[in-house]
């Protein structure tokens, strides 16, 4: 550490710790930032530069994960895929700040969609950042009979342009050596004067451009009003892009490829629905059956319950007896070394990995945006748009995970609606398993009654919140990337990186939750809690007294609650009442932890209390009604 010497600051005023992303690097290092549109194969470039050790962490103050690594004596930082630099959503804000602190930028461009991607490239050039352009997917360019004059493109842009086929590792080394030649490109002459004026006020060209383009955050940092030139600059930039594309791209013929034909079929109303059903079934088989039942069955029951828990009890018990308070906290029912470790490693880890795998498959294949397009109409009626399909589907697997993915929704209003629906009305896979068994015992008519009630609740929540919450939900406006066969190693690596990031975040929350419940148990508070609720259970819900235990267990984990109903002899009607109540009942500890983290304390408490009211209110009304009717 003592070796670090004070060296003159790098070009854009930041040493490697600026932007609060910390890597242990010398102060004179360069920050190389990877920038590109979504789905351009950026991750392959990052993996090439980063090697084995990658740090994935939340960008300070946000929930966006950023990967960074050491590359020689420099830092290489990945950014979220963006179509332009500004601050329209969290991802753009994070990308913008990382780009503003960059010393060099590697801009990955999808050669097939060069018309779209060069907009970002020209914006980076207008920012005056030293740039290398990696022109990716050159194999697809050939396949589609496109011709791109790479040398002319490089001349027109004024920066090195390297053709690459990233998935086949072609051109990556050339990009690496071109880093030495990274330079500022040809900026818009029209912008020049304006930029110059603004530069004298804010002191850095990238920030000057952001202020000119009306970025309120960057302007506020310098205590000035954002300019109103965005539309003019954007229109001009678009014209420049179209002009460049007109010069460098030529095509022999414009015929539809097989992949484009499939892409069309997916959106066709008649073929699209069966394809959708098939995809959903495939995902259910992967996540709901293979991971949630077979793999988790092995890791949770066989490995953790069968080997780990007896082992750790055997080690700890002789030293700290399980009967003592500390023993209960460590190795008791909700023990830190028993239940918590089992949940984290035996249950959460495989489930989370399975989900991220499914998500990565849908993302990398390009199906996800098409799915969002298909279901957009249905979701707009509950105040969401098509993009909300991701969290809602994931919710049937794990509500905790799904709550995190509400991040991708456009407005706070949509995030709130989606989170409320998830936390209240969507049963997770663990709970669904138990619910299915209980419903199977009472038959089809009751199953329909249960499903109907839950569906009605879901639609009502969405409709009411959509009316009641101020503001407007954002309309669907998304880019449909071409369908591509996902590269397995990329999918696995993506899923693994995200899983690691998730586990790193969730683990402390889990230990804290278990600690609270254990302390309640040791101090007898759990018992008091249980007795407190007993009258409501028997009088209002018309369930046996023991059902109160199930609700207390449901506080810890949702399927615990449902499983607690197994042992009881309930009539068919009582089963429906109990299941409706337990489905709407408060989310599990992990879910609540994430709820607080994602939506803030105020909303989390409201949702939590709301689920008590909803569960017991609706359950009770149902019980009273059913008793009268039958």
């Amino acid at each position: 550490m003592g070796k670090e010497v004070k060296v003159a600051k790098t070009t854009h005023g930041g040493h490697c710790h600026s932007g609060s992303l910390a890597l242990d690097l010398p102060e004179n290092c360069e920050k190389i930032v990877l920038v590109g549109n979504p789905n351009v194969g950026k991750s392959v470039f990052f993996n090439y530069f980063s090697g084995l050790y990658v740090d994935v962490s939340n960008y300070p103050g946000t929930t966006i994960e950023i990967s960074q690594a050491r590359y020689k004596n420099n830092a290489i930082i990945d950014t979220p895929g963006i179509y332009g630099v500004s601050s329209f959503n969290d991802e753009e804000i994070v990308a913008r700040d990382i780009i503003l602190s960059a010393d060099k930028v590697v801009n990955v461009v999808d050669a097939v969609h060069i018309e779209r991607d060069l907009f970002l490239t020209l914006q980076l050039i207008d920012m005056g950042l030293p740039l290398v352009v990696a022109l990716n997917f050159m194999d697809e360019v050939e396949e589609q009979d496109l011709k791109i004059d790479v040398d002319l493109l490089s001349d027109l842009l004024g920066v090195p342009v390297i053709p690459t086929i990233a998935v086949k590792k072609r051109g990556l080394a050339d990009v690496e050596s071109a880093l030495l030649e990274a330079r500022e490109g040809h900026q818009d002459s029209f912008l020049h004067k304006k930029l110059h004026e603004m530069l004298s006020r804010v002191g850095s060209q990238p920030e000057a451009l952001m202020v000119l383009e009306g970025d309120p955050y960057v302007a506020a940092r310098h205590g000035i009003e954002p300019a109103a030139d965005r539309e003019e600059i954007y229109v001009r930039r678009r014209e420049r892009v179209n002009d460049i594309v007109g010069h460098v791209v030529s095509e022999a013929r414009m015929s539809e490829t097989i992949r484009q034909k499939i892409g069309r079929l997916v959106l066709n109303p008649i073929a699209g629905i069966p394809i959708l059903a098939l995809v959903l079934y495939g995902l259910y088989e992967l996540v709901g059956v293979l991971v949630a039942q077979i793999i988790v069955g092995f890791t949770e029951k066989t490995v953790m319950n069968g080997y780990w828990e007896p082992f750790i009890r055997g080690v700890v018990n002789p030293i700290i007896s399980q009967k003592t308070a500390l023993g209960t906290i460590l190795i008791g029912e909700f023990g830190l070394l028993t239940m918590t470790v089992t949940y984290l490693l035996g249950l959460l880890l495989p489930l989370v990995f399975g989900f991220y795998l499914a998500l990565a498959l849908m993302e990398d294949s390009g199906y996800l945006p098409r799915l969002a397009t298909l279901v957009d109409r249905v979701l707009t009626s509950i105040g969401l748009n098509g993009r909300a399909v991701v969290p809602l589907i994931l919710g049937f697997g794990c509500v905790t995970m799904a709550t995190i993915t509400t991040r991708l929704l456009g407005t706070e209003r949509e995030k709130t609606i989606a989170t409320a629906i998830l936390q209240w009305a969507i049963p997770c896979s663990a709970q669904l398993g138990v619910i299915t068994v209980l419903l199977a015992a009472i038959g089809g008519a009751y199953t329909l009654l249960y499903a109907g009630i839950i569906f009605l609740v879901l639609v009502t929540i969405g409709t009411v919140l959509s009316r009641w919450l101020p503001g407007q939900s954002s309309p669907l406006l998304i880019d449909l990337p071409p369908l591509r066969f996902p590269k397995p190693s990329n999918v696995v690596r993506k899923a693994a990186t995200r899983t690691y990031g998730f586990m790193k975040e969730a683990t402390p929350w889990f230990f804290m939750g278990a600690l609270i419940v254990s302390v309640m148990q040791v101090t007898g508070m759990l018992n008091i809690w249980q007795n407190l609720w007993a009258p409501i259970t028997t009088g209002w819900l018309r369930l046996p007294k023991e059902a109160a235990t199930a609700f207390v267990m449901g506080l810890v984990r949702r399927d615990f609650g449902a499983a607690g109903l197994y042992a009881m002899h309930l009539s068919a009607m009582q089963t429906v009442v109990a299941l409706v109540t337990i489905t709407l009942f408060v989310p599990c500890i992990a879910s609540i932890m994430i709820l607080f983290k994602e939506r803030g304390a105020k909303q989390a408490v409201l949702i939590w209390i709301g689920s008590w009211i909803l569960a017991f209110g609706l359950g009770g009304i149902l019980a009273q009604l059913l008793v009268r009717v039958i």
Binding site: Y83, G84, S86, F88, V112, H113, E115, R116, F119, L120, Q144, R230, E231, Y234, V235, R237, R238, V241, N242, G263, R264, L267, N268, P269, G272, P369, R370, A372, T373, L374, D376, R377, T380, N385, G386, P475, L476, L477, I478, D479, L480, P482
Partner: protein, 79 residues
Amino acid sequence: MSLDQVKAGEEVIIKRIPDSMAKTQFIRFGIGEGSTVICHSKIPFGPVVLRKNRQEIAIGRGLAKTITVERRSRSGKRS
């Protein structure tokens, strides 16, 4: 004519995108006022999918209603 009235397969010129955020996003995707696009497909009561060269974008029906377009016949004549 508004964008939601366009039929699949028709070629239209985008005349006006009143919403400034949407307009910005359209420009980034490569479509501006004056661009010629093809209606790739339409989900019943749902989004309109537009195509320009190799770029496909989906636009929610509500937003599509606000966008003004002009039909362009195959021969290039405007109607």
